[in-house]
């Protein structure tokens, strides 16, 4: 089967940075299809996405990160992509990490998660580090998979993973739920080091520390 790669970028009100993010991905992966999932943005993200992405999927209402990722995966499944990457729109991920993740998929892994704790994470606040560690412990207790960065948005999926993973969580708790799917479907999983650049913008856009409790409650509900 010919290689067909999609880079899925979920975006909610990311108009100021989306073009730069898409350009950085295109520089590194010129043959990949860049799929932006606009999750009901109200700041013109959709217009920016039409201008720079290859494919735009638009949620008419804001459904949440989990729903946006699942929309991207469903598109990749229907269009026969052999592998795909999920990549944050806020500019904190480094597109230079994409080839390494895809290499791991070629090596036979089904799910590859980029871990900032195995790579670098300049500018990470100390409280964020604590919340992420708590997220790893909760993910292990709920889903039986130990990970060094359970809330990472940088992931790569094989065709098998694209076809079988079904994420029910609509919002941020999707990051932990993914490990439940890895466990349930016996997918071959690994981590790679990635490089995260925290900026004032990305810290304002990403998960807030107070969301941790909300995510825990949602995971309890999913039991």
């Amino acid at each position: 089967m010919a290689e067909k790669i999609a880079v899925i970028i979920p975006a909610f009100n990311e108009a100021p940075v989306l073009q730069d993010t898409v350009a950085s991905v295109r520089r590194v992966s010129p043959t990949a299809t860049i799929v932006v999932v606009d999750d009901g943005s109200t700041d013109g993200t959709q217009t920016v996405a039409y201008a720079c992405a290859d494919v735009v999927l638009s949620h008419r209402k804001n459904c949440g990160l989990g729903a946006a990722i699942m929309t991207g995966l469903e598109y990749a499944k229907r269009e026969g992509y052999t592998s795909c990457i999920t990549f944050d729109a806020d500019g904190q991920h480094d597109a230079a990490d994409i080839p390494h993740a895809l290499q791991k998929i070629t090596d036979g892994y089904d799910v590859v998660v980029g871990s900032r704790f195995r790579g670098s994470h300049s500018g990470m606040p100390r409280t964020r580090r604590f919340v992420l560690l708590a997220g790893n412990i909760v993910t292990f207790l709920f889903f039986g998979v130990w990970t060094s960065d359970s809330q990472s948005g940088f992931r790569a999926f094989s065709r098998r993973a694209i076809e079988t993973i079904y994420l029910k969580s609509n919002r941020m708790e999707v990051s932990s739920e993914l490990y439940g799917e890895i466990h349930r479907l016996h997918l071959k999983y690994t981590e790679i080091p990635i490089h995260i650049r925290y900026t004032k913008y990305s810290l304002g856009k990403g998960q807030r520390n107070a969301n941790g409790l909300k995510i825990l409650l949602k995971l309890l509900y999913r039991l």
Binding site: V55, V56, C63, M70, E74, N170
Partner: protein
């Protein structure tokens, strides 16, 4: 016949109102037979407690609580917790269904430049 106290009359009117609402919802098709039976049992028990308040004390003492009214308060809190949980599940299910619908619309109206 002993006259009803104002609080008993008020509670009784509320119970009648709640029971008729449950029956109306069952007739309208938005409440299953099992749910109707559950609610009618709840309101029947409440009616007995209104008419025989002293009997609730003997039931309370059987389960280790001194006053009958405390049993009612504890049971009501447990029931409320359960109902809030049910409502939460219902809202989450609705949210998932809405997301599925929005996803299908997005996939149907996909804009492609290159794929």
């Amino acid at each position: 016949m002993t006259l009803l106290l104002p609080i008993q009359l008020g509670l009784l009117l509320f119970i009648v109102f709640a029971a008729t609402r449950a029956i109306a919802r069952f007739r309208g098709g938005s409440l299953h037979l099992g749910s109707l039976a559950f609610w009618l049992c709840v309101w029947a028990a409440a009616t007995l407690a209104v008419f025989f308040p002293n009997e609730t004390t003997s039931i309370a003492q059987m389960v280790g609580i001194s006053r009958g009214v405390d049993v009612i308060v504890y049971s009501s809190i447990a029931l409320l917790f359960y109902l809030v949980f049910r409502a939460y599940i219902y809202i989450e299910d609705l949210r998932t269904q809405i997301s599925t619908l929005i996803r299908e619309l997005a996939l149907r109206d996909v804009k492609k430049k290159r794929a």
